[in-house]
Assembly symmetry: C3
Homo-oligomer: 102 residues x 3
Amino acid sequence: MARTLRLITIIAEADVADHLLRDLAALGVRGWNVVPGEGVWRRALEAEGPTDFDGPTVRIETVARAETAEAVMARLAAHWFPRYAVFAWVSDATVLRPGKYA
Amino acid sequence: MARTLRLITIIAEADVADHLLRDLAALGVRGWNVVPGEGVWRRALEAEGPTDFDGPTVRIETVARAETAEAVMARLAAHWFPRYAVFAWVSDATVLRPGKYA
Amino acid sequence: MARTLRLITIIAEADVADHLLRDLAALGVRGWNVVPGEGVWRRALEAEGPTDFDGPTVRIETVARAETAEAVMARLAAHWFPRYAVFAWVSDATVLRPGKYA
């Protein structure tokens, strides 16, 4: 049976990948896929103000219920965006067998 | 001219990639992009019950008409989800030149 | 604060990646993530008619305002689609801190 859930996509500097995935797991995220890449974007770090990030990245994606997606985005905004080169977005995803997803 | 089609994203254990792509082609999928990655998720295999997948993946994506997307999801649910570490979702994608897509 | 923006995804033959990224930057795109992959699809080149592309790709994605996304798609349709193996789609993406995005 099809059900619409939320797809969370996170692009992060590669160095913080393991730490970030542990944090997601603690918020109830039960699975993900990670793809290496290269990214360029302007970040607004608390300590340094706007600086440009240009380097290796991980692209993390996970499909989750709306509540989990909101918890993840709130955590990213509070803890990750001010300190690291991380950005993220959420979109709709229609899945079969939604029981598989957190 | 812009037209909204369906984006199908499939994450699969890397070992089944070639077999899965041949299956998609048989359903009328005419093109795709494949990206290697690493995934972790819980799968519910017919023969073994719930087990954890943790290993190399392929991320396959293709843009298709709604009918093709439904045929692909039905095939995945019937044949692939019970046997292999595969999950998938569908979302909207607005393309230019829709004539290019199956 | 959450805001819905546009996610642009471009799959292109790997050889044109640098040129394409410079073109995006000239249109006001301020950041992106790039992931290497392998793609297969039918392209309709101006000079040769329909031919099959099968080879290394880059998957470029960027989150942008609607006007920037429209400018990018128009540029792709006018300049890139007729000459190179490039395809692209646009979808909705809800972000936090939209001020980070062009």
